[in-house]
Symmetry: C2
Subunit: 107 residues, 2 copies
Protein backbone atom coordinates (compact mmCIF):
# COMPACT_ATOMS: atom_id res chain seq x y z
CA UNK A 1 0.00 0.00 0.00
CA UNK A 2 0.94 3.60 -0.50
CA UNK A 3 2.70 5.17 2.49
CA UNK A 4 0.76 8.40 2.04
CA UNK A 5 -2.48 6.52 2.36
CA UNK A 6 -1.22 4.71 5.43
CA UNK A 7 -0.12 7.97 7.03
CA UNK A 8 -3.45 9.61 6.34
CA UNK A 9 -5.28 6.66 7.82
CA UNK A 10 -3.35 7.26 11.02
CA UNK A 11 -3.23 11.02 11.34
CA UNK A 12 -5.33 12.27 8.43
CA UNK A 13 -8.26 13.32 10.53
CA UNK A 14 -9.19 16.80 11.58
CA UNK A 15 -7.59 16.88 15.04
CA UNK A 16 -4.60 14.57 15.33
CA UNK A 17 -2.11 16.87 13.65
CA UNK A 18 -3.33 19.85 15.64
CA UNK A 19 -2.77 18.00 18.89
CA UNK A 20 0.68 16.90 17.79
CA UNK A 21 1.45 20.44 16.67
CA UNK A 22 0.61 21.74 20.13
CA UNK A 23 2.75 19.10 21.81
CA UNK A 24 5.70 19.68 19.49
CA UNK A 25 5.63 23.46 19.61
CA UNK A 26 4.66 23.99 23.21
CA UNK A 27 6.02 20.87 24.83
CA UNK A 28 4.09 18.69 27.29
CA UNK A 29 0.52 19.85 27.80
CA UNK A 30 -2.24 18.71 30.09
CA UNK A 31 -5.69 17.73 28.99
CA UNK A 32 -7.06 21.14 29.97
CA UNK A 33 -4.33 23.01 28.19
CA UNK A 34 -5.09 21.11 25.00
CA UNK A 35 -8.77 21.88 25.44
CA UNK A 36 -7.92 25.55 25.57
CA UNK A 37 -6.30 25.54 22.15
CA UNK A 38 -7.92 28.11 19.90
CA UNK A 39 -9.52 25.42 17.74
CA UNK A 40 -11.93 24.45 20.53
CA UNK A 41 -11.95 20.68 20.41
CA UNK A 42 -14.64 19.13 22.57
CA UNK A 43 -13.86 16.92 25.53
CA UNK A 44 -14.97 13.61 24.14
CA UNK A 45 -13.16 14.08 20.85
CA UNK A 46 -9.95 15.06 22.61
CA UNK A 47 -10.06 12.05 24.90
CA UNK A 48 -10.67 9.72 21.97
CA UNK A 49 -7.88 11.24 19.87
CA UNK A 50 -5.40 11.10 22.74
CA UNK A 51 -6.08 7.42 23.26
CA UNK A 52 -5.70 6.77 19.55
CA UNK A 53 -2.42 8.65 19.34
CA UNK A 54 -1.12 6.81 22.38
CA UNK A 55 -2.03 3.47 20.84
CA UNK A 56 -0.12 4.49 17.72
CA UNK A 57 2.84 5.38 19.90
CA UNK A 58 2.92 8.96 18.68
CA UNK A 59 2.34 10.51 22.11
CA UNK A 60 2.61 9.28 25.70
CA UNK A 61 1.71 10.32 29.22
CA UNK A 62 4.47 12.08 31.10
CA UNK A 63 3.73 10.54 34.49
CA UNK A 64 2.47 7.04 33.73
CA UNK A 65 0.03 6.45 36.56
CA UNK A 66 0.94 9.03 39.21
CA UNK A 67 -2.05 10.82 40.67
CA UNK A 68 -4.27 10.77 37.59
CA UNK A 69 -4.11 14.49 38.10
CA UNK A 70 -1.97 17.08 36.42
CA UNK A 71 -0.53 14.41 34.22
CA UNK A 72 0.41 15.72 30.84
CA UNK A 73 0.99 14.35 27.37
CA UNK A 74 4.09 14.65 25.25
CA UNK A 75 5.18 13.44 21.85
CA UNK A 76 7.20 10.26 21.56
CA UNK A 77 10.25 10.01 19.38
CA UNK A 78 8.09 8.74 16.58
CA UNK A 79 5.65 11.59 16.98
CA UNK A 80 8.42 14.17 17.10
CA UNK A 81 9.56 13.04 13.68
CA UNK A 82 6.39 14.53 12.29
CA UNK A 83 7.88 17.95 12.86
CA UNK A 84 9.19 18.32 9.26
CA UNK A 85 5.74 17.44 7.96
CA UNK A 86 4.09 20.06 10.15
CA UNK A 87 6.71 22.63 9.24
CA UNK A 88 6.28 21.94 5.53
CA UNK A 89 2.53 22.26 5.88
CA UNK A 90 2.83 25.50 7.83
CA UNK A 91 5.26 26.89 5.33
CA UNK A 92 3.00 26.06 2.44
CA UNK A 93 -0.04 27.53 4.17
CA UNK A 94 1.79 30.74 4.99
CA UNK A 95 2.76 31.24 1.39
CA UNK A 96 -0.43 30.06 -0.27
CA UNK A 97 -3.38 30.31 2.05
CA UNK A 98 -3.24 33.85 3.36
CA UNK A 99 -6.19 34.45 1.09
CA UNK A 100 -7.85 31.23 2.08
CA UNK A 101 -10.82 32.78 3.80
CA UNK A 102 -11.49 35.13 0.94
CA UNK A 103 -11.37 32.11 -1.36
CA UNK A 104 -13.97 30.45 0.80
CA UNK A 105 -16.26 33.46 0.62
CA UNK A 106 -16.42 33.16 -3.13
CA UNK A 107 -18.08 29.77 -2.85
Amino acid sequence: MCPISTALDAIGDKWSLLIIRDLIIQGPRTYSQLLDSPERISTNILATRLELLISLNLIERTKPQASSRNNAFQVTNRGAQLKPVIQALGHWASRNLTDFHSDMLKM
Copy 2:
Protein backbone atom coordinates in the same frame (compact mmCIF):
# COMPACT_ATOMS: atom_id res chain seq x y z
CA MET B 1 -4.99 32.10 13.17
CA CYS B 2 -2.46 29.32 13.00
CA PRO B 3 -1.36 28.41 9.47
CA ILE B 4 -1.44 24.71 10.33
CA SER B 5 -5.05 25.01 11.32
CA THR B 6 -5.85 26.91 8.15
CA ALA B 7 -4.11 24.32 6.02
CA LEU B 8 -5.94 21.47 7.70
CA ASP B 9 -9.25 23.22 7.20
CA ALA B 10 -8.49 23.27 3.50
CA ILE B 11 -6.90 19.90 2.83
CA GLY B 12 -7.02 18.11 6.17
CA ASP B 13 -9.74 15.72 5.16
CA LYS B 14 -9.36 12.10 4.23
CA TRP B 15 -9.25 12.48 0.45
CA SER B 16 -7.84 15.82 -0.69
CA LEU B 17 -4.19 14.92 -0.22
CA LEU B 18 -4.69 11.56 -1.88
CA ILE B 19 -6.16 13.21 -4.96
CA ILE B 20 -3.35 15.75 -5.07
CA ARG B 21 -0.84 12.97 -4.60
CA ASP B 22 -2.23 11.17 -7.64
CA LEU B 23 -2.15 14.32 -9.73
CA ILE B 24 1.38 15.22 -8.67
CA ILE B 25 2.88 11.76 -9.10
CA GLN B 26 0.98 10.60 -12.13
CA GLY B 27 0.20 13.87 -13.87
CA PRO B 28 -3.20 14.84 -15.28
CA ARG B 29 -5.88 12.25 -14.58
CA THR B 30 -9.48 11.93 -15.62
CA TYR B 31 -12.37 11.43 -13.27
CA SER B 32 -12.42 7.70 -14.00
CA GLN B 33 -8.72 7.33 -13.49
CA LEU B 34 -9.00 8.97 -10.09
CA LEU B 35 -11.89 6.69 -9.23
CA ASP B 36 -9.69 3.70 -9.99
CA SER B 37 -7.12 4.67 -7.39
CA PRO B 38 -6.58 1.84 -4.94
CA GLU B 39 -8.24 3.76 -2.11
CA ARG B 40 -11.65 3.41 -3.75
CA ILE B 41 -13.19 6.83 -3.30
CA SER B 42 -16.88 6.94 -4.16
CA THR B 43 -18.24 9.01 -6.99
CA ASN B 44 -20.05 11.69 -5.06
CA ILE B 45 -17.14 12.27 -2.70
CA LEU B 46 -14.71 12.57 -5.58
CA ALA B 47 -16.91 15.09 -7.38
CA THR B 48 -17.30 17.14 -4.21
CA ARG B 49 -13.58 17.13 -3.43
CA LEU B 50 -12.63 18.07 -6.97
CA GLU B 51 -14.96 21.07 -6.90
CA LEU B 52 -13.57 22.11 -3.54
CA LEU B 53 -9.97 21.80 -4.67
CA ILE B 54 -10.77 23.78 -7.80
CA SER B 55 -12.38 26.52 -5.76
CA LEU B 56 -9.23 26.67 -3.64
CA ASN B 57 -7.19 26.93 -6.82
CA LEU B 58 -5.18 23.81 -6.00
CA ILE B 59 -6.26 21.90 -9.12
CA GLU B 60 -7.82 22.85 -12.44
CA ARG B 61 -9.39 21.25 -15.48
CA THR B 62 -7.04 20.66 -18.37
CA LYS B 63 -9.48 21.52 -21.15
CA PRO B 64 -11.74 24.20 -19.69
CA GLN B 65 -15.04 23.43 -21.40
CA ALA B 66 -14.13 21.33 -24.45
CA SER B 67 -16.47 18.41 -24.91
CA SER B 68 -17.28 17.81 -21.25
CA ARG B 69 -15.83 14.43 -22.02
CA ASN B 70 -12.36 13.08 -21.50
CA ASN B 71 -11.40 16.25 -19.69
CA ALA B 72 -8.83 15.71 -17.01
CA PHE B 73 -7.64 17.45 -13.88
CA GLN B 74 -4.16 18.66 -13.03
CA VAL B 75 -2.55 20.47 -10.13
CA THR B 76 -2.08 24.21 -10.31
CA ASN B 77 1.12 25.88 -9.32
CA ARG B 78 -0.23 26.36 -5.84
CA GLY B 79 -1.21 22.73 -5.60
CA ALA B 80 2.14 21.55 -6.89
CA GLN B 81 3.83 23.31 -4.01
CA LEU B 82 2.31 20.74 -1.72
CA LYS B 83 4.80 18.23 -3.05
CA PRO B 84 7.29 18.74 -0.18
CA VAL B 85 4.49 18.17 2.31
CA ILE B 86 3.48 14.95 0.62
CA GLN B 87 7.06 13.81 0.37
CA ALA B 88 7.70 14.55 4.03
CA LEU B 89 4.58 12.65 4.98
CA GLY B 90 5.53 9.71 2.80
CA HIS B 91 9.03 9.68 4.16
CA TRP B 92 7.77 9.72 7.72
CA ALA B 93 5.27 6.95 7.06
CA SER B 94 7.87 4.77 5.40
CA ARG B 95 10.16 5.03 8.37
CA ASN B 96 7.58 4.86 11.12
CA LEU B 97 4.43 3.17 9.99
CA THR B 98 5.63 -0.05 8.41
CA ASP B 99 4.27 -1.65 11.54
CA PHE B 100 1.12 0.44 11.50
CA HIS B 101 -1.26 -2.38 10.81
CA SER B 102 0.25 -4.54 13.50
CA ASP B 103 -0.13 -1.59 15.86
CA MET B 104 -3.77 -1.43 14.97
CA LEU B 105 -4.23 -5.11 15.69
CA LYS B 106 -3.05 -4.61 19.25
CA MET B 107 -5.99 -2.32 19.96
